[in-house]
Symmetry: C2
Subunit: 231 residues, 2 copies
Amino acid sequence: MSDKRVLYDLAAADPDRRFSPYCWRTKMALAHKGLPVETIAWRFTEKDVIAPSGQPLVPVLVDNGRWISDSWTIANYLEDTYPQAPSLFGGAVGRSLTRYYATAADALAPALARMLVLDIYERIDDKDRAYFRQSREKRFGMTLEAAVADREARLPAFRDSLAPLRAALKTQAFFGGENPLYADYAVFGPFQWARCISPFRILDAADPLAAWLQHLLERFDGLAGKAPAYY
Amino acid sequence: MSDKRVLYDLAAADPDRRFSPYCWRTKMALAHKGLPVETIAWRFTEKDVIAPSGQPLVPVLVDNGRWISDSWTIANYLEDTYPQAPSLFGGAVGRSLTRYYATAADALAPALARMLVLDIYERIDDKDRAYFRQSREKRFGMTLEAAVADREARLPAFRDSLAPLRAALKTQAFFGGENPLYADYAVFGPFQWARCISPFRILDAADPLAAWLQHLLERFDGLAGKAPAYY
Protein backbone atom coordinates (compact mmCIF):
# COMPACT_ATOMS: atom_id res chain seq x y z
CA MET A 1 0.00 0.00 0.00
CA SER A 2 1.37 3.37 -0.93
CA ASP A 3 1.55 5.90 1.90
CA LYS A 4 1.55 9.44 0.58
CA ARG A 5 1.28 12.45 2.84
CA VAL A 6 1.68 16.09 1.86
CA LEU A 7 1.53 19.20 4.03
CA TYR A 8 1.08 22.67 2.63
CA ASP A 9 3.39 24.69 4.83
CA LEU A 10 3.61 28.48 4.98
CA ALA A 11 6.96 29.72 3.64
CA ALA A 12 8.77 33.03 3.44
CA ALA A 13 10.45 34.28 0.26
CA ASP A 14 13.12 31.72 1.12
CA PRO A 15 11.16 28.51 0.54
CA ASP A 16 13.05 26.79 3.37
CA ARG A 17 11.93 29.36 5.95
CA ARG A 18 8.71 27.85 7.30
CA PHE A 19 7.15 29.97 10.00
CA SER A 20 3.44 29.30 10.56
CA PRO A 21 2.76 28.48 14.23
CA TYR A 22 -0.13 26.28 13.17
CA CYS A 23 1.91 24.40 10.57
CA TRP A 24 4.60 23.78 13.19
CA ARG A 25 2.02 22.20 15.47
CA THR A 26 1.10 19.84 12.67
CA LYS A 27 4.70 19.02 11.76
CA MET A 28 5.49 18.19 15.38
CA ALA A 29 2.34 16.08 15.61
CA LEU A 30 3.24 14.15 12.45
CA ALA A 31 6.76 13.57 13.80
CA HIS A 32 5.35 12.46 17.18
CA LYS A 33 3.24 9.93 15.31
CA GLY A 34 6.23 8.84 13.26
CA LEU A 35 4.42 9.67 10.04
CA PRO A 36 6.60 10.81 7.15
CA VAL A 37 5.37 13.84 5.27
CA GLU A 38 6.41 15.88 2.27
CA THR A 39 6.08 19.56 3.07
CA ILE A 40 5.35 21.97 0.25
CA ALA A 41 6.29 25.62 0.49
CA TRP A 42 3.07 27.62 0.32
CA ARG A 43 2.55 31.37 0.20
CA PHE A 44 -0.33 33.40 1.63
CA THR A 45 -1.78 34.23 -1.75
CA GLU A 46 -1.79 30.69 -3.14
CA LYS A 47 -5.37 30.12 -2.10
CA ASP A 48 -6.15 28.17 -5.26
CA VAL A 49 -3.58 25.50 -4.44
CA ILE A 50 -5.38 24.50 -1.26
CA ALA A 51 -8.89 25.13 -2.54
CA PRO A 52 -9.76 21.40 -2.38
CA SER A 53 -9.58 21.77 1.43
CA GLY A 54 -12.61 24.04 1.23
CA GLN A 55 -10.95 26.95 3.03
CA PRO A 56 -8.03 29.35 2.49
CA LEU A 57 -5.61 28.71 5.41
CA VAL A 58 -2.73 26.38 6.17
CA PRO A 59 -1.90 23.89 7.55
CA VAL A 60 -3.57 21.70 4.97
CA LEU A 61 -2.72 18.02 5.09
CA VAL A 62 -3.38 15.66 2.21
CA ASP A 63 -3.28 12.23 3.77
CA ASN A 64 -3.50 9.53 1.14
CA GLY A 65 -5.88 11.66 -0.87
CA ARG A 66 -7.91 13.06 2.04
CA TRP A 67 -7.73 16.82 2.50
CA ILE A 68 -7.81 18.04 6.10
CA SER A 69 -7.34 21.59 7.35
CA ASP A 70 -7.08 23.36 10.72
CA SER A 71 -4.32 22.28 13.10
CA TRP A 72 -6.68 21.01 15.82
CA THR A 73 -8.77 19.06 13.31
CA ILE A 74 -5.61 17.59 11.84
CA ALA A 75 -4.31 16.54 15.26
CA ASN A 76 -7.58 14.78 16.01
CA TYR A 77 -7.60 13.17 12.57
CA LEU A 78 -4.07 11.85 13.06
CA GLU A 79 -4.91 10.49 16.52
CA ASP A 80 -8.01 8.72 15.23
CA THR A 81 -6.54 7.51 11.95
CA TYR A 82 -3.28 6.24 13.40
CA PRO A 83 -4.25 4.92 16.84
CA GLN A 84 -1.31 2.48 16.94
CA ALA A 85 1.21 5.32 16.67
CA PRO A 86 2.29 7.17 19.85
CA SER A 87 -0.65 9.10 21.24
CA LEU A 88 -0.78 12.88 20.92
CA PHE A 89 -3.20 13.23 23.82
CA GLY A 90 -2.76 10.27 26.16
CA GLY A 91 -6.39 9.19 25.91
CA ALA A 92 -9.86 10.70 25.81
CA VAL A 93 -9.43 12.83 28.92
CA GLY A 94 -6.07 14.05 27.69
CA ARG A 95 -7.65 15.05 24.39
CA SER A 96 -10.30 17.11 26.16
CA LEU A 97 -7.74 18.71 28.46
CA THR A 98 -5.49 19.54 25.51
CA ARG A 99 -8.09 21.75 23.82
CA TYR A 100 -7.44 24.68 26.16
CA TYR A 101 -3.70 24.55 25.48
CA ALA A 102 -4.45 25.27 21.85
CA THR A 103 -6.84 28.11 22.60
CA ALA A 104 -4.50 29.60 25.21
CA ALA A 105 -1.58 29.44 22.78
CA ASP A 106 -3.73 30.97 20.04
CA ALA A 107 -4.34 33.87 22.40
CA LEU A 108 -0.62 34.65 22.40
CA ALA A 109 -0.70 35.36 18.69
CA PRO A 110 -2.07 38.92 18.64
CA ALA A 111 0.53 40.25 21.08
CA LEU A 112 3.30 38.39 19.28
CA ALA A 113 2.12 39.54 15.89
CA ARG A 114 2.17 43.12 17.10
CA MET A 115 5.90 42.68 17.80
CA LEU A 116 6.81 40.59 14.74
CA VAL A 117 4.61 41.80 11.94
CA LEU A 118 7.13 44.02 10.21
CA ASP A 119 9.79 41.29 10.34
CA ILE A 120 7.29 38.94 8.77
CA TYR A 121 6.46 41.44 6.05
CA GLU A 122 10.12 41.92 5.18
CA ARG A 123 10.72 38.19 4.81
CA ILE A 124 7.69 36.98 2.92
CA ASP A 125 7.53 36.56 -0.82
CA ASP A 126 7.04 39.67 -2.93
CA LYS A 127 3.75 38.39 -4.23
CA ASP A 128 2.38 38.14 -0.66
CA ARG A 129 3.33 41.60 0.49
CA ALA A 130 0.40 43.71 -0.68
CA TYR A 131 -2.10 41.21 0.74
CA PHE A 132 -0.18 40.93 3.97
CA ARG A 133 0.29 44.65 4.57
CA GLN A 134 -3.30 45.45 3.78
CA SER A 135 -4.86 42.70 5.90
CA ARG A 136 -2.57 43.26 8.90
CA GLU A 137 -2.78 47.05 8.83
CA LYS A 138 -6.55 46.70 8.82
CA ARG A 139 -6.35 44.30 11.79
CA PHE A 140 -4.06 46.56 13.84
CA GLY A 141 -5.64 49.80 12.71
CA MET A 142 -2.19 51.24 11.95
CA THR A 143 0.81 50.77 9.70
CA LEU A 144 3.08 47.77 10.25
CA GLU A 145 5.84 50.19 11.15
CA ALA A 146 3.69 51.83 13.82
CA ALA A 147 2.57 48.44 15.17
CA VAL A 148 6.11 47.33 15.99
CA ALA A 149 7.51 50.72 16.98
CA ASP A 150 7.09 50.17 20.73
CA ARG A 151 7.79 46.45 20.81
CA GLU A 152 10.68 46.75 23.24
CA ALA A 153 8.30 48.45 25.65
CA ARG A 154 5.64 45.79 25.06
CA LEU A 155 7.94 42.81 25.62
CA PRO A 156 7.95 42.81 29.46
CA ALA A 157 4.14 42.64 29.63
CA PHE A 158 4.13 39.83 27.10
CA ARG A 159 6.71 37.91 29.11
CA ASP A 160 4.63 38.50 32.25
CA SER A 161 1.61 37.04 30.49
CA LEU A 162 3.51 33.76 30.18
CA ALA A 163 3.65 33.32 33.98
CA PRO A 164 0.99 30.57 34.13
CA LEU A 165 2.80 28.52 31.47
CA ARG A 166 6.08 29.03 33.32
CA ALA A 167 4.50 28.08 36.65
CA ALA A 168 3.11 24.83 35.24
CA LEU A 169 6.61 23.79 34.17
CA LYS A 170 8.07 24.29 37.64
CA THR A 171 7.29 20.71 38.61
CA GLN A 172 7.38 18.89 35.28
CA ALA A 173 9.52 18.94 32.13
CA PHE A 174 6.63 19.23 29.68
CA PHE A 175 2.95 20.12 29.87
CA GLY A 176 2.30 16.49 28.97
CA GLY A 177 4.55 15.28 31.81
CA GLU A 178 7.94 13.64 31.36
CA ASN A 179 7.58 13.70 27.61
CA PRO A 180 5.95 16.19 25.27
CA LEU A 181 2.45 15.71 23.94
CA TYR A 182 0.29 17.76 21.60
CA ALA A 183 -0.34 20.24 24.42
CA ASP A 184 3.35 21.06 24.21
CA TYR A 185 3.33 21.35 20.43
CA ALA A 186 0.30 23.65 20.61
CA VAL A 187 2.19 26.07 22.85
CA PHE A 188 5.42 25.53 20.94
CA GLY A 189 3.89 26.85 17.74
CA PRO A 190 3.88 30.57 18.55
CA PHE A 191 7.43 30.50 19.92
CA GLN A 192 8.75 28.63 16.90
CA TRP A 193 6.91 31.09 14.66
CA ALA A 194 8.76 33.93 16.38
CA ARG A 195 12.25 32.48 16.13
CA CYS A 196 11.80 31.36 12.51
CA ILE A 197 10.73 34.75 11.21
CA SER A 198 12.34 37.38 13.45
CA PRO A 199 15.61 38.05 15.26
CA PHE A 200 13.64 39.83 18.00
CA ARG A 201 14.06 37.68 21.12
CA ILE A 202 10.74 36.81 22.68
CA LEU A 203 12.08 34.81 25.63
CA ASP A 204 14.88 35.74 27.95
CA ALA A 205 17.60 33.08 27.80
CA ALA A 206 17.17 32.45 31.54
CA ASP A 207 13.41 31.89 31.21
CA PRO A 208 12.41 28.30 32.08
CA LEU A 209 10.25 28.42 28.97
CA ALA A 210 13.42 28.84 26.92
CA ALA A 211 14.73 25.55 28.35
CA TRP A 212 11.43 23.85 27.57
CA LEU A 213 11.55 25.27 24.04
CA GLN A 214 15.11 24.00 23.57
CA HIS A 215 14.03 20.47 24.49
CA LEU A 216 11.34 20.62 21.84
CA LEU A 217 13.76 21.97 19.25
CA GLU A 218 15.94 18.90 19.81
CA ARG A 219 13.13 16.38 19.49
CA PHE A 220 12.68 14.23 16.39
CA ASP A 221 16.31 14.52 15.42
CA GLY A 222 16.14 18.31 15.60
CA LEU A 223 13.20 18.68 13.24
CA ALA A 224 12.35 22.16 14.53
CA GLY A 225 15.82 23.11 15.76
CA LYS A 226 17.50 22.54 12.41
CA ALA A 227 14.94 24.55 10.48
CA PRO A 228 16.04 28.03 9.36
CA ALA A 229 15.59 30.42 12.30
CA TYR A 230 17.23 33.49 13.81
CA TYR A 231 18.32 32.14 17.18
CA MET B 1 -12.12 1.75 60.71
CA SER B 2 -13.08 5.30 61.55
CA ASP B 3 -12.94 7.75 58.68
CA LYS B 4 -12.48 11.32 59.88
CA ARG B 5 -11.82 14.20 57.53
CA VAL B 6 -11.73 17.91 58.39
CA LEU B 7 -11.17 20.89 56.13
CA TYR B 8 -10.25 24.34 57.41
CA ASP B 9 -12.29 26.56 55.13
CA LEU B 10 -12.00 30.33 54.87
CA ALA B 11 -15.15 32.05 56.17
CA ALA B 12 -16.51 35.58 56.24
CA ALA B 13 -18.00 37.14 59.38
CA ASP B 14 -20.98 34.95 58.59
CA PRO B 15 -19.47 31.51 59.27
CA ASP B 16 -21.56 29.96 56.49
CA ARG B 17 -20.13 32.28 53.85
CA ARG B 18 -17.14 30.30 52.55
CA PHE B 19 -15.32 32.11 49.79
CA SER B 20 -11.74 30.94 49.27
CA PRO B 21 -11.18 29.92 45.63
CA TYR B 22 -8.59 27.40 46.77
CA CYS B 23 -10.87 25.88 49.42
CA TRP B 24 -13.60 25.54 46.81
CA ARG B 25 -11.26 23.55 44.59
CA THR B 26 -10.66 21.18 47.48
CA LYS B 27 -14.33 20.87 48.40
CA MET B 28 -15.23 20.04 44.81
CA ALA B 29 -12.38 17.53 44.66
CA LEU B 30 -13.54 15.83 47.86
CA ALA B 31 -17.10 15.68 46.53
CA HIS B 32 -15.86 14.30 43.20
CA LYS B 33 -14.09 11.57 45.15
CA GLY B 34 -17.20 10.96 47.22
CA LEU B 35 -15.29 11.65 50.42
CA PRO B 36 -17.31 13.16 53.27
CA VAL B 37 -15.69 16.07 55.05
CA GLU B 38 -16.45 18.31 57.98
CA THR B 39 -15.63 21.90 57.06
CA ILE B 40 -14.57 24.27 59.81
CA ALA B 41 -15.04 28.01 59.43
CA TRP B 42 -11.58 29.55 59.56
CA ARG B 43 -10.56 33.20 59.55
CA PHE B 44 -7.43 34.79 58.06
CA THR B 45 -5.88 35.54 61.42
CA GLU B 46 -6.33 32.07 62.92
CA LYS B 47 -2.87 31.00 61.90
CA ASP B 48 -2.35 29.07 65.14
CA VAL B 49 -5.26 26.73 64.40
CA ILE B 50 -3.60 25.41 61.23
CA ALA B 51 -0.04 25.61 62.53
CA PRO B 52 0.32 21.80 62.48
CA SER B 53 0.18 22.06 58.67
CA GLY B 54 3.49 23.93 58.82
CA GLN B 55 2.23 26.96 56.91
CA PRO B 56 -0.36 29.74 57.34
CA LEU B 57 -2.84 29.33 54.45
CA VAL B 58 -6.00 27.36 53.76
CA PRO B 59 -7.14 24.96 52.47
CA VAL B 60 -5.78 22.67 55.12
CA LEU B 61 -7.11 19.12 55.11
CA VAL B 62 -6.75 16.80 58.07
CA ASP B 63 -7.33 13.36 56.63
CA ASN B 64 -7.45 10.73 59.33
CA GLY B 65 -4.81 12.58 61.29
CA ARG B 66 -2.62 13.63 58.34
CA TRP B 67 -2.30 17.37 57.78
CA ILE B 68 -2.06 18.44 54.13
CA SER B 69 -2.06 21.98 52.75
CA ASP B 70 -2.07 23.66 49.32
CA SER B 71 -4.97 22.88 46.99
CA TRP B 72 -2.80 21.22 44.33
CA THR B 73 -0.98 19.09 46.90
CA ILE B 74 -4.32 18.09 48.39
CA ALA B 75 -5.74 17.13 45.01
CA ASN B 76 -2.73 14.92 44.32
CA TYR B 77 -2.93 13.45 47.83
CA LEU B 78 -6.60 12.57 47.35
CA GLU B 79 -5.94 11.01 43.97
CA ASP B 80 -3.10 8.88 45.31
CA THR B 81 -4.72 7.98 48.63
CA TYR B 82 -8.12 7.12 47.19
CA PRO B 83 -7.33 5.56 43.81
CA GLN B 84 -10.56 3.53 43.78
CA ALA B 85 -12.70 6.69 43.95
CA PRO B 86 -13.52 8.56 40.71
CA SER B 87 -10.35 10.03 39.24
CA LEU B 88 -9.73 13.78 39.44
CA PHE B 89 -7.27 13.70 36.56
CA GLY B 90 -8.11 10.75 34.34
CA GLY B 91 -4.65 9.21 34.61
CA ALA B 92 -1.01 10.24 34.66
CA VAL B 93 -1.17 12.32 31.49
CA GLY B 94 -4.34 14.01 32.68
CA ARG B 95 -2.62 14.91 35.93
CA SER B 96 0.26 16.54 34.10
CA LEU B 97 -2.07 18.38 31.74
CA THR B 98 -4.18 19.60 34.66
CA ARG B 99 -1.32 21.50 36.29
CA TYR B 100 -1.58 24.41 33.85
CA TYR B 101 -5.30 24.80 34.53
CA ALA B 102 -4.45 25.54 38.15
CA THR B 103 -1.70 28.01 37.30
CA ALA B 104 -3.84 29.71 34.64
CA ALA B 105 -6.75 30.01 37.07
CA ASP B 106 -4.40 31.34 39.74
CA ALA B 107 -3.41 34.05 37.30
CA LEU B 108 -7.02 35.31 37.27
CA ALA B 109 -6.84 36.12 40.97
CA PRO B 110 -5.00 39.46 40.89
CA ALA B 111 -7.40 41.05 38.40
CA LEU B 112 -10.41 39.63 40.26
CA ALA B 113 -9.07 40.73 43.63
CA ARG B 114 -8.65 44.23 42.27
CA MET B 115 -12.40 44.28 41.59
CA LEU B 116 -13.58 42.42 44.70
CA VAL B 117 -11.23 43.42 47.47
CA LEU B 118 -13.44 46.01 49.12
CA ASP B 119 -16.43 43.66 49.09
CA ILE B 120 -14.26 41.04 50.74
CA TYR B 121 -13.11 43.51 53.36
CA GLU B 122 -16.67 44.50 54.20
CA ARG B 123 -17.75 40.88 54.69
CA ILE B 124 -14.90 39.35 56.63
CA ASP B 125 -14.79 39.04 60.39
CA ASP B 126 -13.89 42.14 62.39
CA LYS B 127 -10.79 40.47 63.75
CA ASP B 128 -9.47 39.89 60.20
CA ARG B 129 -9.96 43.43 58.93
CA ALA B 130 -6.79 45.17 60.05
CA TYR B 131 -4.65 42.32 58.71
CA PHE B 132 -6.58 42.18 55.47
CA ARG B 133 -6.57 45.90 54.75
CA GLN B 134 -2.89 46.25 55.53
CA SER B 135 -1.72 43.25 53.50
CA ARG B 136 -3.92 44.01 50.49
CA GLU B 137 -3.20 47.73 50.43
CA LYS B 138 0.49 46.89 50.46
CA ARG B 139 -0.05 44.45 47.58
CA PHE B 140 -2.00 46.92 45.46
CA GLY B 141 -0.01 49.97 46.51
CA MET B 142 -3.24 51.87 47.18
CA THR B 143 -6.29 51.87 49.44
CA LEU B 144 -8.92 49.19 48.96
CA GLU B 145 -11.34 51.93 47.98
CA ALA B 146 -9.00 53.17 45.27
CA ALA B 147 -8.34 49.62 44.05
CA VAL B 148 -11.99 48.98 43.24
CA ALA B 149 -12.93 52.48 42.13
CA ASP B 150 -12.58 51.76 38.42
CA ARG B 151 -13.77 48.15 38.44
CA GLU B 152 -16.60 48.76 35.99
CA ALA B 153 -14.03 50.06 33.55
CA ARG B 154 -11.75 47.08 34.22
CA LEU B 155 -14.40 44.43 33.76
CA PRO B 156 -14.43 44.30 29.92
CA ALA B 157 -10.69 43.63 29.77
CA PHE B 158 -11.05 40.91 32.40
CA ARG B 159 -13.85 39.29 30.43
CA ASP B 160 -11.72 39.51 27.29
CA SER B 161 -8.91 37.71 29.12
CA LEU B 162 -11.23 34.72 29.51
CA ALA B 163 -11.44 34.20 25.74
CA PRO B 164 -9.16 31.12 25.67
CA LEU B 165 -11.22 29.39 28.39
CA ARG B 166 -14.40 30.29 26.53
CA ALA B 167 -12.97 29.03 23.24
CA ALA B 168 -12.02 25.68 24.75
CA LEU B 169 -15.62 25.12 25.83
CA LYS B 170 -17.01 25.71 22.35
CA THR B 171 -16.72 22.04 21.50
CA GLN B 172 -17.05 20.35 24.89
CA ALA B 173 -19.15 20.79 28.03
CA PHE B 174 -16.24 20.76 30.47
CA PHE B 175 -12.48 21.14 30.27
CA GLY B 176 -12.32 17.48 31.30
CA GLY B 177 -14.70 16.50 28.48
CA GLU B 178 -18.29 15.34 28.98
CA ASN B 179 -17.90 15.47 32.75
CA PRO B 180 -15.96 17.80 35.00
CA LEU B 181 -12.55 16.91 36.34
CA TYR B 182 -10.14 18.72 38.63
CA ALA B 183 -9.19 21.01 35.73
CA ASP B 184 -12.75 22.33 35.90
CA TYR B 185 -12.68 22.74 39.67
CA ALA B 186 -9.37 24.60 39.42
CA VAL B 187 -10.92 27.17 37.09
CA PHE B 188 -14.20 27.13 39.01
CA GLY B 189 -12.51 28.33 42.19
CA PRO B 190 -12.01 31.98 41.25
CA PHE B 191 -15.54 32.34 39.86
CA GLN B 192 -17.10 30.77 42.94
CA TRP B 193 -14.95 33.04 45.11
CA ALA B 194 -16.39 36.04 43.29
CA ARG B 195 -20.05 35.07 43.58
CA CYS B 196 -19.74 34.03 47.22
CA ILE B 197 -18.23 37.28 48.41
CA SER B 198 -19.49 40.02 46.10
CA PRO B 199 -22.64 41.05 44.25
CA PHE B 200 -20.46 42.47 41.46
CA ARG B 201 -21.15 40.30 38.42
CA ILE B 202 -17.98 38.95 36.88
CA LEU B 203 -19.57 37.06 34.00
CA ASP B 204 -22.23 38.26 31.64
CA ALA B 205 -25.27 35.98 31.86
CA ALA B 206 -24.92 35.18 28.16
CA ASP B 207 -21.28 34.14 28.52
CA PRO B 208 -20.78 30.44 27.75
CA LEU B 209 -18.62 30.37 30.87
CA ALA B 210 -21.71 31.27 32.90
CA ALA B 211 -23.44 28.14 31.59
CA TRP B 212 -20.39 26.03 32.42
CA LEU B 213 -20.32 27.57 35.90
CA GLN B 214 -24.00 26.80 36.39
CA HIS B 215 -23.40 23.14 35.59
CA LEU B 216 -20.71 23.01 38.25
CA LEU B 217 -22.94 24.75 40.78
CA GLU B 218 -25.50 21.99 40.31
CA ARG B 219 -23.04 19.13 40.74
CA PHE B 220 -22.91 17.04 43.90
CA ASP B 221 -26.46 17.85 44.85
CA GLY B 222 -25.79 21.58 44.54
CA LEU B 223 -22.81 21.62 46.90
CA ALA B 224 -21.52 24.90 45.50
CA GLY B 225 -24.82 26.28 44.23
CA LYS B 226 -26.56 26.06 47.60
CA ALA B 227 -23.75 27.77 49.46
CA PRO B 228 -24.38 31.41 50.45
CA ALA B 229 -23.62 33.61 47.45
CA TYR B 230 -24.82 36.82 45.83
CA TYR B 231 -26.09 35.50 42.52
